[in-house]
C-alpha cells in the first residue's frame, strides 16, 4: 500500500485536497493540465458569498503548496492511464513540453522583450491582452516561462533572428531554453486518486443567439471576471474593447437549475457597482429564488449596493449603435422591457472541464449524462467514482461555490486517508537535519550581504558597484558579493562556507517568492533562517522606478540600509513544537457527526462521539439506509467510543490539548482530545447544568442560531477557536448527503491535527515582556485567536500581581496585541517595535 495520493486538477478543490492530505502525513502528486495552478479561482476577481478578493485568498495557499516538500506539483501535464488497484495504482502522466527547462528558468523575464513575436492572445485572460511567444501563462506559480509552439518562429520554421541562435536563447543566461523538448511520459505510484478537474463555461449555440462572438461588447461571465480582476488585461478597470468605460451593464443568467451562475452574475454586478458608483447594473434571471441563507443575504447586500435583480423570461439581444446592445426582456409581470446597454454579459451553464471526458476514458471512470464525475445512482457516496480508490470532489462532480468545493475536497481527502491509513507517513520527504552555528542574539552581528542582479532586472538599472560599495559601508556588514542570479545559490553558499558570519542580507527579489529558497541556503551555511532578510530590490524598486536609474539606486541604498538595520536586530528562532492529544471529540450523533467519527476511526484515529439520545438507532430511524450503514460501520470499529444518552460537561484547553467531561448515566468520564467538532442539530444554545461548552470554547451563533466561525470561503468548517470545527446542520440547513460530506470534511480538518504527535508551528508569535506587562488587559479583546489570557501571580514581594500570558499553540503572530499595548510590553518575534523603528529611522537618513 502506497502512502501517496494523486490529485488531478489544481483549482481550489485540488489544491485543498492536496494540502489536507500532506497535512495528514501523505505525499501528494498534484497534476494540473494548465501551466500554472489555481484553476478558475485564480481567474475570478471576487468570490460569493463572502465578496472576498479571490487572488488574495488563493495566493497564500498556492505558496504554501509550492513550499510543501510533500506536495509535488506537476503542471502542464495530463493523466494518460491508471492501472492497478486501490492502495496500489500505477499512473502514467504525460508532461507537455514548455521548451523551457523549469529547473533552470528563474523567471527573470529577460527573454520576453527580445522575442520578435508579439500580439499572442493570452489564454489565461481568455484571449484579451497580448504576450510574446515566450511568456508566463499567468502571474501564478509555478512561475516558469513557456513557449507557444504555434506562435514561436523558431519552432515553426527552425529559424529566428539573423544570428546563429534565436534571440531568446541568447538572452537567457541560465540556458533554460530547450527547443528539443518533447512530450515526456512518466509513471507515478500512488495509493489513491482524487479527481478535481472542475468545470467550465459551456460555450454552445445559444450564446450566439445573444450576440456572443458577433457583437464586440457581449462577453461571458468568466471573460468579464478578467476585466474586473486587478491582475487582468486592463488592470482591474472594466473597459469595452474600444477603451470606453461602460455605464450600463446587464447580466443574463442562462442556467436556472443551479444558483452558481446567478450568484456569479450578482457578484460581478456588485463588483462593477463598487468600482463605478454611477454604473447602472442589472441581473436578468428566470429563477431568482435562492434558498441558501448566506446566498440570499449576499443578494440582499448587492441590491443595497444598487444591483437590480430582474426576474425575467424570454430575453433577446440585437446590435445597437456605438457598440451598444439593445436587449429586450419580459419581466415576470408580463411587461415587455427594452434597454440599451453598453455591455451584455452572458452567464452560460457550467459544464465539466474540457478534458474531463478524455480523462474519464483514460482512467476508466464513468460520467453522468452531463459529463460530470457523478454516478447518479442513489445510495452510493457522491465522493466515490465508479472505480474504487478513485474519488472526486469540487465542480467536477457538479457546479458549486468555492466554499462547498473546499468542504468536498476535505471530504475526499478523508476518504483517501481512510483507505491508506496504514501507509500514513511512509513516503514523506525527509526532514533536512539542521545544523546551526552557535549564534545567540547577544553576539555582535556580522552580516554576509548578497546583491542579486537578477540579470538585467536589477543589474540593468541600478549602479550595482555603487550599491555594493554602499552596502559594504553599512554597520555590521562584513562582506558583500554581487551575483548575476543569486537564487542559484552558488555565491551565497561560497560566502557562508568562509564562516564568521551570523546574519544574511539578500538584496534581490520578493521574499514572498524566494524566502524559502534563501532560507535553505542560509540554513545550509548553519545560519538560522530567521537571521536572514530579503530586501525586495526588484519588485519594489527597479521594476517600478525603471525610468530613473539614479533615483532607483538611491532608493535601493535606503532599502539595503533598512534591511541591514533590521537583520542586525533579528534573533535566531526555533519552530514551536506543541504536543497533541491524539484523539477527537465529536459532539452530536447526527449523520454529519457519525460520518465524521467513521472517517476518523477508519483512518485509525481515536474518536469519542457524544449523543444525547439513548441510542444511535433513534438517529438511524429518521435517516436513509445510507446513514444506517454508516452507523453500523462505526459500531464495529474499536477506536470509536460512542457515548449515547450522554452530554458534555466542562470543556477546557486549546488546539491540540483539550480535555472534556462526558456525563453518562454511569457517571463522569474525562477524555483528552486534540480537536473537537460540533455536529449537533440543535439550533438553540442549550447550556446544561453540567457545563456550557459553547461559552467555554467561545463559539458564536448567527441571528438564526446557526454556528458561525471563521470568515472566508476557504474556511467554512473552522471556528475562530483553533482546533474546533463545525459541520452539518449545526452550521446551515442542508440535505443528508451534504451533511455527510460536511462531517467527512471536518474529519480531514481534525485528522490534520491529531494524526501527528505534535504540531510544529512558526515561531513568529507574540512574546510578553515580563518586566513591562502589569496586566492592564487591553490586549485581550483585540486578539483574534483568543491566545491572550489575564493571569494573577504572587510576586516575590508577597503581593498579588497581574500579567498576561500568550498561548503559543494558538497565537497567530498577527501583532494586534503589540499594536494595542499601551506600555510596549508585548511584541512579535522579529517584528519588535525597535526593529520597525530602526527601519523607519533608516528611511530618514541619506546615503
Amino acid at each position: 500500500m502506497k502512502g501517496s495520493v494523486l490529485v488531478v486538477g489544481a483549482g481550489p478543490a485540488g489544491m485543498r485536497a492536496s494540502s489536507e492530505l500532506a497535512n495528514q502525513g501523505f505525499s501528494v502528486f498534484l497534476v494540473e493540465e494548465k501551466p500554472t495552478i489555481g484553476g478558475k479561482m485564480a481567474q475570478i476577481d471576487k468570490m460569493f458569498p463572502s465578496n472576498e478578493c479571490s487572488s488574495c485568498t488563493i495566493l497564500p495557499r498556492m505558496l504554501e503548496i509550492v513550499n510543501d516538500p510533500n506536495i509535488n506539483i506537476i503542471a502542464f501535464a495530463e493523466v494518460l492511464s491508471i492501472a492497478g488497484k486501490p492502495g496500489d495504482f500505477k499512473v502514467k502522466v504525460l508532461k507537455k513540453p514548455r521548451y523551457v527547462d523549469p529547473m533552470r528558468c528563474n523567471a527573470c523575464t529577460d527573454c520576453f522583450p527580445v522575442c520578435p513575436v508579439g500580439g499572442v492572445p493570452m489564454e489565461y485572460n481568455l484571449g484579451r491582452g497580448a504576450s510574446k511567444a515566450i511568456s508566463f501563462y499567468s502571474p501564478f506559480p509555478p512561475r516558469k516561462a513557456l513557449i507557444h509552439p504555434e506562435k514561436c518562429t523558431y519552432l515553426l520554421s527552425g529559424e529566428c533572428g539573423d544570428q546563429e541562435q534565436p534571440p531568446c536563447v541568447q538572452a537567457c543566461e541560465r540556458r533554460a531554453i530547450d527547443f528539443s523538448q518533447k512530450p515526456v511520459t512518466g509513471e507515478l505510484h500512488v495509493g489513491a486518486v482524487i479527481i478535481a478537474t472542475g468545470s467550465d463555461e459551456l460555450h454552445t449555440d445559444p450564446l450566439a443567439e445573444y450576440g456572443y462572438g458577433k457583437m464586440p461588447n457581449v462577453l461571458t461571465a468568466l471573460e468579464y471576471e478578467r476585466l474586473l480582476s486587478g491582475m487582468g488585461p486592463s488592470g482591474g478597470v472594466v473597459k469595452r474593447d474600444d477603451g470606453t468605460a461602460p455605464q450600463t451593464v446587464a447580466w443574463y443568467v442562462m442556467d436556472s437549475a443551479s444558483p452558481i451562475g446567478f450568484m456569479t452574475a450578482v457578484t460581478e454586478a456588485m463588483g462593477t457597482a463598487e468600482k463605478n458608483s454611477n454604473a447602472s447594473v442589472r441581473v436578468l434571471h428566470e429563477n431568482t429564488n435562492i434558498s441558501r441563507e448566506t446566498y440570499s443575504d449576499f443578494i440582499q447586500k448587492a441590491q443595497e449596493a444598487n444591483v437590480k435583480i430582474v426576474p425575467v423570461d424570454a430575453v433577446a439581444a440585437t446590435e445597437g449603435t456605438d457598440g451598444n446592445i439593445n436587449i429586450s426582456y419580459q419581466t415576470a409581470g408580463r411587461e415587455n422591457q427594452l434597454a440599451d446597454v453598453n455591455m451584455f454579459v452572458l452567464v452560460p451553464p457550467l459544464a465539466p472541464s474540457e478534458s474531463a471526458q478524455k480523462l474519464a476514458q483514460n482512467i476508466d471512470v464513468q460520467l453522468n449524462p452531463w459529463g460530470f464525475f457523478d454516478k447518479q445512482s442513489g445510495d452510493t457516496h457522491p465522493i466515490h467514482t465508479s472505480r474504487e480508490g478513485i474519488f472526486v470532489c469540487g465542480s467536477a462532480l457538479e457546479p458549486k461555490g468555492i466554499d462547498d468545493a473546499a468542504i468536498q475536497a476535505c471530504a475526499a481527502a478523508s476518504h483517501a486517508a481512510a483507505l491508506l491509513s496504514e501507509a500514513r507517513g511512509t513516503v514523506l520527504a525527509p526532514q533536512p537535519e539542521k545544523k546551526y552555528l552557535p549564534i545567540t542574539s547577544e553576539d555582535e552581528p556580522s552580516i554576509a550581504a548578497l546583491i542579486c542582479k537578477c540579470g538585467p532586472n536589477i543589474g540593468g538599472l541600478l549602479d550595482i558597484n555603487e550599491l555594493a560599495e554602499y552596502t559594504a559601508s553599512l554597520p555590521y556588514v562584513k562582506q558583500v558579493e554581487v551575483a548575476p542570479f543569486g537564487c542559484g545559490g552558488g555565491e551565497i553558499r561560497e560566502m557562508l562556507r568562509r564562516k564568521g558570519f551570523n546574519r544574511v542580507l539578500v538584496g534581490g527579489c520578493s521574499p514572498k517568492t524566494h524566502e524559502e529558497v534563501f532560507a535553505m541556503y542560509a540554513e545550509g551555511g548553519g545560519i538560522n533562517r530567521y537571521l536572514m532578510e530579503i530586501v525586495n530590490l526588484r519588485n519594489h524598486c527597479t521594476w517600478v522606478h525603471s525610468t530613473d536609474p539614479k533615483a532607483a539606486t538611491e532608493k535601493a541604498k535606503t532599502l539595503m540600509r533598512m534591511g541591514a538595520r533590521r537583520v542586525a536586530l533579528q534573533e535566531p528562532l526555533e519552530d514551536i513544537h506543541i504536543p497533541v492529544s491524539p484523539a477527537a471529540l465529536v459532539i452530536g450523533g447526527t449523520p454529519s457527526g457519525v460520518a465524521c467519527a467513521l472517517k476518523l476511526a477508519q483512518a485509525d484515529l481515536q474518536v469519542y462521539l457524544v449523543e444525547k439520545e439513548s441510542d444511535l438507532s433513534v438517529v438511524k430511524a429518521n435517516q436513509s439506509t445510507f446513514v444506517g450503514r454508516l452507523i453500523d460501520a462505526l459500531a464495529k470499529l474499536e477506536n470509536a467510543r460512542i457515548f449515547t444518552g450522554s452530554e458534555l460537561g466542562a470543556v477546557q484547553g486549546y488546539l491540540g490539548n483539550f480535555n472534556a467531561e462526558i456525563i453518562t448515566s454511569a457517571g463522569k468520564e474525562k477524555v483528552d482530545i486534540g480537536s473537537i467538532v460540533i455536529a449537533t442539530d440543535q439550533n438553540i444554545a442549550t447550556p446544561s447544568d453540567n457545563g456550557d461548552y459553547e461559552a467555554q470554547l467561545f463559539l458564536q451563533r448567527s441571528a438564526n442560531n446557526f454556528f458561525v466561525g471563521m470568515l472566508g470561503n476557504l474556511n467554512p468548517l473552522d471556528f475562530n477557536t483553533a482546533g474546533v470545527f463545525k459541520c452539518g446542520p449545526a452550521r446551515m440547513e442542508m440535505g443528508v448527503l451534504d451533511a455527510i460530506m460536511d462531517g467527512e470534511g471536518a474529519a480531514s480538518r481534525i485528522a490534520g491535527i491529531i494524526s501527528k504527535t505534535e504540531m510544529v508551528k512558526s515561531p513568529i508569535i507574540s512574546i510578553v515582556v515580563d518586566e513591562k506587562c502589569d496586566g492592564c488587559a487591553y490586549c485581550i479583546e483585540p486578539c483574534p485567536a483568543r491566545a491572550v489570557t489575564l493571569i494573577e501571580y504572587m510576586h516575590n514581594d508577597g503581593t498579588k500581581k497581574k500579567t498576561v500570558e500568550v498561548n503559543d499553540a494558538v497565537c497567530l503572530g498577527c501583532g494586534s496585541c503589540m499594536a494595542t499595548c499601551p506600555k510596549d510590553a508585548v511584541y512579535i518575534q522579529n517584528f519588535k517595535p525597535e526593529q520597525i523603528m530602526e527601519m523607519v529611522q533608516s528611511v530618514s537618513e541619506e546615503a
Binding site: 518586566e771 513591562k772 502589569d774 496586566g775 492592564c776 488587559a777 487591553y778 485581550i780 479583546e781 483585540p782 489575564l790 503581593t799 498579588k800 500581581k801 497581574k802 494586534s816 499594536a819 494595542t820 499595548c821 499601551p822 506600555k823 510596549d824
Partner: protein, 315 residues
C-alpha cells in the same frame, strides 16, 4: 560629615516641599546627615547678597541639589543653571520639574495669546498692557521640564511626589550611589480592581458619570475603571503615587488616574499609547473631551504640548 543640600523652587506651588516635610519621622532620621545650605522655602537667602550688593547670582556649592517646579521664565532658567553648576547631583522633584506639570498646560498657547487673554481678553478684566517692567523676568517661549535646560541625575515625579520616594532617593544618594529611579511599572501594577478584558464599545464616559461600585465593598470588588468605559490614565502612567506600598491614590478615591506621575519611561507618549489602546478595543477616540489637555495634564513639557500651527482645513 553631613552632605550639603541646596533646595530650590522654580515655577512651583510648594507642594513638593510639603512632601519633603511629610517624610515625618524619616526626615528626623535623615536630617543629621543633611546640611541644607540653601533652601529659600524655609530660610531666607538672597541671590545677589543679603542687601543686593552683588551683581552675580550666588548659590552655595553642594553635593545634592533638589529642584521643584518647571522652568517658565528667564529667572527660573538662570537659577536652575546656577544650581546645576554648584551641585554634584541634581534631583528634579515633582511633576513640574520632571515633565512641566500643570503650568505646562499653557504650552498649548503662545505667550502672545496668553497675555492677550490675561490682560485684555477676559470679560472680568479691565484691559491693560502687557507688563514690561525690567524687574519682571521675561517668559520663555514655553514652560519647560528641568532636563530640557540642564542635565538631571535623578527624577522623582508626582503631584505631589510621595515622601517614600524622596526618602529612598536621598538614602540611595547618601549611600554613595549617583543615580536612582522609580521602577518602570504602570499604575495598573498596584491597582487591585477586577480586570477581565477591555471590550467597552461606543463613547468614552465622562468623569461626572458615576462609576459602578458598591461602597460597602473593597476596591478588589470594583470593575476596572477603563473597563467601565471611563478614561483612566493608569495604563500609561508611572506607578508610585501611593508610595512603596498601597493602592494608587486616585483609585483609592474611586476616581480615574489623572496621570500625575507622567510616562512610564522616558520618551513614552501617554496620549498616543492611550488613544491607541482605547481605539483598539472599540472605544470611540473622538469622544475623549479636551483630549490634548486631559492626556497631557502633567506632562506639557518635552514638546508634548505646543501651540497648533494655523492650517488650512483638510481638503
Amino acid at each position: 560629615m553631613p552632605v550639603k543640600v541646596v533646595e530650590e523652587w522654580l515655577n512651583s506651588c510648594s507642594g513638593c516641599e510639603i512632601s519633603i516635610l511629610n517624610l515625618g519621622d524619616t526626615l528626623l532620621d535623615l536630617l543629621p546627615e543633611l546640611n541644607f545650605v540653601h533652601i529659600p522655602v524655609l530660610i531666607d537667602h538672597k541671590y545677589y547678597g543679603q542687601t543686593g550688593e552683588s551683581d552675580v547670582i550666588e548659590i552655595p556649592e553642594a553635593d545634592i541639589g533638589i529642584v521643584s517646579g518647571g522652568v517658565r521664565n528667564e529667572e527660573h532658567k538662570h537659577v536652575l543653571e546656577e544650581t546645576r553648576k554648584k551641585t554634584k547631583i541634581l534631583i528634579a522633584l515633582g511633576s513640574c520639574a520632571a515633565h512641566g506639570g500643570i503650568p505646562a498646560q499653557a504650552n498649548m498657547y503662545t505667550n502672545k495669546d496668553i497675555f492677550e487673554k490675561l490682560f485684555r481678553g477676559s470679560p472680568s478684566t479691565d484691559p491693560a498692557s502687557d507688563p514690561n517692567h525690567p524687574n519682571v523676568p521675561q517668559w520663555l517661549d514655553s514652560c519647560l521640564a528641568l532636563d530640557e535646560v540642564v542635565e538631571v541625575d535623578v527624577t522623582i515625579p508626582g503631584c505631589p511626589p510621595h515622601p517614600d520616594w524622596i526618602a529612598e532617593a536621598l538614602t540611595a544618594l547618601l549611600e554613595g550611589k549617583t543615580s536612582w529611579s522609580l521602577p518602570e511599572r504602570s499604575v495598573c501594577d498596584t491597582c487591585p480592581v477586577i480586570r477581565e478584558k477591555k471590550s467597552a464599545a461606543g463613547p468614552v464616559r465622562r468623569c461626572f458619570e458615576n462609576l459602578e461600585f458598591n461602597p460597602e465593598e473593597g476596591l478588589d470588588k470594583m470593575r476596572c475603571i477603563n473597563e467601565q468605559g471611563f478614561l483612566c490614565l493608569g495604563p500609561v502612567t508611572l506607578a508610585g503615587c501611593a508610595g512603596k506600598e498601597g493602592v494608587p491614590r486616585c483609585i483609592q478615591a474611586r476616581t480615574p488616574c489623572r496621570g500625575c506621575f507622567g510616562p512610564i519611561r522616558k520618551g513614552a507618549r501617554p496620549m498616543v499609547d492611550m488613544m491607541g489602546a482605547m481605539s483598539s478595543v472599540g472605544l470611540d477616540p473622538k469622544t475623549v473631551v479636551d483630549r490634548r489637555a486631559i492626556m497631557n495634564r502633567y506632562i506639557g513639557g518635552h514638546g508634548n504640548l505646543r501651540p497648533l500651527p494655523a492650517r488650512p482645513a483638510r481638503k
